[in-house]
Symmetry: C2
Subunit: 310 residues, 2 copies
């Protein structure tokens, strides 16, 4: 049984063949180049075929394909909602790939689910059963594992922590992506810096704010210090709620914000349930940009293990 | 197989014999009268024996006993930490009752676990698999069910939402019981009213604050309006994180605060993940003071069902 993992990002597709132990044997990347709807699914299927051919794997051999999608994967209808892929409002991805690849079993999951599977399967949280993965990039979301199981919620939108309420009063600015994401995501940090400075052209992205922070820029100091406080409060809340063994920090912002991990933990210690926070370590993701891909591989390998047990 | 449920409160013990469908057949209450340590466990065992004798159940008949404790029930060591029972720092309750009652299987769980089992088994959330129970009384805690399983965390202290960080900056006042509990528990509401009014004798408890609110008292209005905002924010956070079908409000404060449920939901709608909050109903607990007892009965009945399946 072959295990394939695929990570669908906003601009590219990354696929790999995995060993039984979850290591990448061979991988390939292709750009989406503005593809929409079923053309994206065709690209996924095509990349699978290429990977299999290059590895001299016969089309008849049974294979399990895990796919990481940037959105919601409904585990009843098996349809995908992905806001960044035009035409994927309710796309039947599992059906499409199952039909396109002979002898395949396809499992689709959200990026949040794949991140936590990647970290607990092959990353810094390997072997742990109670883990929270804080993904801070363009947006903010959490992958959550309790007792070894991934939290999905009633409609697979659990872990939407970009919407965490951390400071009243509510203002209209938060309505698009939630309070926490508005203030402390990559997009949010850049937007806050632009707003505070009154200079819309100066901070195109969060990286430029981190660079200004290094130079002691006052606006950048205010925005990043606020983000550190909010990362501390939000993770404190996850610790009080879940009593996890570890909080893993990943996504594009961690990255440059990894240097603040001690300050974030210090802030979290003030707020969190005191026994829980002492039992919990904060770590930076070791998988980096491969977290989704490796998690998709774990998705495939877990399905194979379940299948072999039956 | 007989099912017994026992709810250990801060001042009294409430025990019942349950039917297979989870209804109370007969129940009894005794006061703790300041008992400590193993004397409390002896009282529990004694009350079990009384219940069985009164129902003409032979001591040899097999019985399952669920016990709801106000604290932490470690599910590895089976020891109980209950801050309000002197001497229960690490008390071997399961062992004690198993030894004291012939032919018994004993299951011990925290009050948070029992509340959510009670509500999903026999209460307003009957039959639902994704539910959050907000217990707002002297303290604040949450019982959480996802995919039909109760969330415990790595050391059974999940759901410690009294510690939720909902407004920076952190001040020392929150160090004893957490920000949310300091401002919006029963104890917290009374303390905030005393602090704001500068009259330490006027507000002995939250009920007096709710009464002053009815009279249009300015201090009470400020304290309760703040609590409503925080209940809304906290429940919004639980909805964004868990994507539940229902949030159930119970504990002594709900009670008088049930009249604010619409306002709380309105506040939560501002902050929460918009799809999740639309899929979620807010309801008052229908079990009231019996939530822990009925949950303890569910604990016993669930164990019997598991046993019968094997």
């Amino acid at each position: 049984m072959q295990a394939i993992g695929i990570d669908l990002g906003g601009t590219k597709l990354h696929a790999a063949l995995f060993s039984d132990s979850g290591e990448i044997i061979t991988d390939r990347t292709v750009l989406l180049e503005g593809r929409m709807g079923s053309r994206v699914a065709e690209l996924i299927a095509g990349l699978c075929v290429t990977l299999l051919e290059e590895s001299n794997i016969s089309p008849d051999e049974e294979k399990t394909i895990g796919i990481c999608v940037p959105g919601i994967a409904d585990n009843l209808t098996h349809r995908v909602w992905a806001p960044n892929i035009p035409g994927w409002n309710s796309f039947p991805l599992k059906q499409f790939i199952t039909d396109a690849i002979p002898a395949s079993e396809v499992i689709v999951a959200s990026d949040r689910t794949c991140y936590i599977l990647g970290e607990t399967g092959m990353g810094v949280a390997k072997g742990l059963s109670h883990v929270v993965y804080m993904s801070v990039g363009t947006g903010i979301g959490a992958g959550i594992m309790t007792e070894g199981r991934v939290l999905h919620g009633s409609a697979d939108i659990a872990g939407a922590i970009g919407w965490l309420a951390l400071q009243p009063p509510y203002v209209e600015e938060y309505s698009n992506s939630g309070y926490f994401e508005t203030c402390a995501s990559g997009t949010g940090i850049a937007a806050q810096a632009r707003k505070l400075s009154g200079q819309p052209a100066v901070y195109p992205d969060s990286r430029s704010v981190f660079e200004a922070y290094e130079r002691g820029n006052t606006v950048a100091l205010r925005v990043i210090d606020k983000a550190v406080e909010l990362w501390g409060m939000a993770s404190a809340n996850m610790v009080s709620i879940f009593n996890p063994k570890m909080v893993v920090w990943g996504g594009g912002v961690f990255g440059p914000a990894v240097r603040f991990l001690d300050r974030i933990y210090y802030e979290a210690c003030k707020w969190a349930q005191p026994i829980s926070i002492r039992q919990c370590r904060f770590e930076a993701s070791g998988l980096g940009q491969n977290a989704g891909l490796i998690g998709a591989g774990q998705l495939a390998l877990n399905a194979i293990k379940t299948y072999e047990k039956q």
